[in-house]
């Protein structure tokens, strides 16, 4: 709980800190009714989303499918942060949309608190959507420019009226704004009057307003400047501690994901290729793609420059409309053999300590460890 200040215009740190506790009691609501930390909240199994490729204007013929997500397994426990990393086009944003039920999966199950979300009734979905909120990447596009900040934060309550009684809503909104480090007097301002980092805080306040269990963070800091990015990351960490939130943190920035995540899943072309704790995945990456990815991240300490073997991948990611047979990565892999084209490797532990989807998985320190 420190430095949630937003410059000369915003609240100073101290009132935010004191109000934070009241807001946390208010917003967390029945924190005592919640389950224990570490209990499984969300379990995703064999999740698939195929988008049809059509041709023709009137008579649309389906000529193929883009396999955006093709068999993803994920588990999210209470109070934990799971990082999902991968390059653009690997399907990580589609996963986030599936999880908040903005898209219907083609196949697979999303089990939340023992119930399959894909089979929920309309009313069941309403409850689910309250408990699983999302923060979007672009703080400019995700806030309605014609609504005041107060209306944006309070909008969810018009659907879920039971959470905040009509009377105290303004005060609740102000508490939430204060909790995310914004001046509570700004409720009547419009989004364009805020900077990128402040807008992202508004998005966070909107997600918090419905007292969610899980927040899906879809690239929440990638559009922000470095100095502001750290403020938002710290805020997310504080909120997690205060409200017992669970995060699915989707990003392409490997350093940020390592910083915030307890467990990490690496995606390539629609499926998870490696998963484990942050220390396992970053310290002993065993899928060739993870190794290449980690070795490409530019390090920012002069003494570490040139201290590691760079793996330069050749070529581009294949099209998800026509993925390679067997292992998806084999077309760019230096370890590929005949079996890779025939048999898709399962995501299992082959003796390297954590699951990786490679027939020849082998732990290898890709990044210089420690200092």
């Amino acid at each position: 709980m420190s430095e949630p200040s937003t410059g000369a215009t915003a609240a100073s740190a101290e009132p935010a800190a004191s109000a934070g506790s009241t807001a946390s009691q208010a917003a967390a609501g029945g924190a005592s009714t919640r389950g224990a930390l570490g209990e499984t909240l969300l379990e995703v199994k064999g999740l698939k989303k195929h988008f049809p490729l059509t041709r023709g204007v009137v008579l649309k013929r389906t000529v193929g499918h883009v396999r955006a997500v093709d068999g993803v397994d994920l588990t999210l426990r209470r109070g934990e942060t799971v990082g999902l990393v991968g390059e653009s086009g690997c399907g990580k944003s589609t996963v986030s949309k599936l999880l908040v039920a903005l898209e219907k999966p083609t196949d697979g199950s999303i089990v939340y608190k023992g119930r399959d979300v894909t089979k929920l009734s309309k009313r069941g979905l309403k409850g689910y959507r309250r408990e699983v909120q999302i923060i979007f990447q672009d703080p400019y596009a995700s806030l309605n420019p014609r609504m005041t900040v107060g209306d944006i934060v309070a909008e969810g309550w018009s659907v879920h009226a039971d959470i905040a009684p009509r009377k105290g809503r303004l005060q609740r909104t102000q508490e939430l704004l204060e909790r995310v480090g914004l001046n509570p007097d700004y409720v009547n301002r419009y989004p364009h009057q805020f900077s990128g980092g402040q807008r992202q805080r508004i998005g966070i306040a909107r997600a918090l307003a419905l007292q969610p269990e899980i927040i899906v963070c879809d690239e929440p800091v990638s559009a922000l400047d470095v100095s502001v990015q750290a403020q938002v990351v710290n805020l997310l960490e504080d909120l997690q501690d205060d409200f017992g939130l669970s995060y699915l943190f989707i990003a392409h920035d490997l350093s940020v994901v390592r910083h915030i995540s307890d467990r990490v899943a690496v995606m390539y072309l629609g499926s998870v290729v490696e998963t484990g704790t942050d220390a396992e995945v970053y310290g002993a990456p065993s899928h060739p793609y993870t190794q290449a990815l980690l070795s490409s991240v530019p390090l920012h300490e002069p003494k570490l420059r040139g201290q590691r073997d760079r793996i330069l991948l050749s070529g581009d990611v294949p099209s998800p409309a026509n993925p390679p047979s067997g292992c998806r990565f084999r077309t760019r892999c230096w370890k590929a053999q005949d079996i890779c084209a025939e048999e898709p490797p399962a995501l299992v532990d082959r003796g390297q300590g954590h699951p990786a989807a490679c027939h020849f998985a082998e732990a290898r320190p890709a990044v210089v460890e420690g200092r």
Binding site: E3, S5, T6, G7, A8, T9, E87, S88, S195, G197, Q198, D225, V226, S227, V228, Q229, A230, Q231, V233, N234, E237, H252, L254, S255, V256, R258, H259, I260, D278, A279, Y282, A292, L293, L294, S296, V297, P298, L299, H300, E301, P302, K303, L304, R305, R310, L312, L313, D316, V317, V367, V368, E369, G370, R371
Partner: protein, 352 residues
């Protein structure tokens, strides 16, 4: 600050570079005159670039890093942008005092630039071969056929596979990394002495970013051109550049070799940036962000522009005479051999 020659490379760097001075930017001022007021985007920026040198200009959005580069390239939108002072000398000639047509003749073959967004920088209705060949047709009067031939050679040089077949393809048929290579091919077509790369890899994935940065380095080694790398990514600066100039609110606040600046920052802003980014090598503790927001360039704070966000600021009685952070503007001064910083208390930041 004028005539400051480039800082010598520290022994740890070991990156060979010496050579003729290519570019001198001297006390450059750029402002945008808009209806709602004057935005001071660049407020007295000076730097030099020599052959084979890679200078990184590091800064966040709104720090003026791109505007200063656009001024060098002569592609500022004016109005509203106006260069209100300073000089830009390319191989000794002041570009700003030249007639426009002469400027074009100097810049065309001498200085080129690549941009962040390759898709919007390429024309979607012409084939990439035509667009690369345009450089030869416009500046050398090459025939269409020869220009296309040269385009194929260039595409080979930036390692676009099957260049001869792809020369007639359109930009949308290429992936992001390949489009960036097409742009690099256009930029190096006339063998420029200076290449300005404005966030060349920001839109790219890390694996592709590594390929593109390697390509730029290799081309630089072949041709000996000077490279100005504009970026906000500290990792890219560390991996690629020799020297770095950190910009904040339209000014350079710190300058030196990458090894020096990244090992031990002399300006609190640089120090804050370093503490803001998580490490990939190890899971660190809590991040220590810089508080507050970047300044509004229409109302830059008095004194040191960073003082409202600075953890080390000294105001009123705390400050040494003439070094009050809110009123006295700190000049960019030599604070250690080969190091310049614009902070009244750099020695403390450095811990010397």
């Amino acid at each position: 600050m004028t005539g400051t020659t480039t800082v010598p490379v520290g022994p740890s760097g070991g990156r060979a570079r010496t050579g003729e001075l290519l570019l001198e930017v001297d006390d450059l001022h750029v402002e945008f005159r808009t209806r709602s007021g004057v935005v001071n985007a660049v407020n007295g920026v000076s730097y030099t670039l020599a052959e084979r040198q890679t200078l990184a200009i590091l800064g966040e959005s709104g720090s003026g890093k791109s505007v200063s580069a656009q001024a060098i390239m002569g592609i500022l939108d004016s109005p509203p942008a106006v260069i209100t002072g300073g000089g830009i000398r390319f191989q000794g000639e002041d570009l700003l005092t030249m007639a426009e047509e002469d400027q074009r003749k100097v810049r065309g073959p001498g200085i080129s630039m690549i941009f962040q967004d390759a898709l919007s920088s390429l024309n979607p209705v012409y084939s990439v071969g035509y667009q690369i060949g345009e450089m030869f047709r416009a500046h050398r009067g090459t025939s269409k056929k020869d220009a296309k031939q040269k385009a194929v050679e260039l595409m080979d040089r930036v390692r676009i596979p099957a260049a001869a077949q792809r020369v007639n393809d359109y930009p949308h048929q290429f992936s992001g990394g390949m489009r960036q290579r097409v742009m690099i091919a256009m930029a190096i077509a006339l063998d420029p002495r200076i290449l300005i790369a404005d966030e060349p890899t920001t839109a790219l994935d890390v694996t592709v970013q590594a390929q593109v940065m390697d390509l730029l380095k290799e081309l630089q080694q072949d041709t000996g051109m000077g490279l100005i790398l504009i970026t906000h990514d500290l990792g890219v600066v560390n991996e690629v550049a020799d020297d770095v100039a950190v910009m904040y609110a339209g000014k350079i606040v710190e300058r030196g070799t990458v090894d020096d600046v990244f090992t031990d920052a002399a300006h609190p802003y640089t120090e804050g940036l370093m503490a803001s980014i998580p490490q990939i090598e190890a899971k660190g503790g809590r991040l220590r962000p810089i508080v507050g927001q970047p300044p509004n360039l229409a109302a830059i704070p008095s004194g040191c522009p960073f003082h409202p966000r600075c953890a080390r600021r000294r105001l009123g009685a705390e400050a040494a005479p003439g070094r009050e952070c809110a009123t006295d503007v700190p000049p960019l001064r030599l604070v250690a051999p080969g190091r310049e910083a614009a902070c009244h208390y750099s020695e403390e930041v450095l811990g010397v």
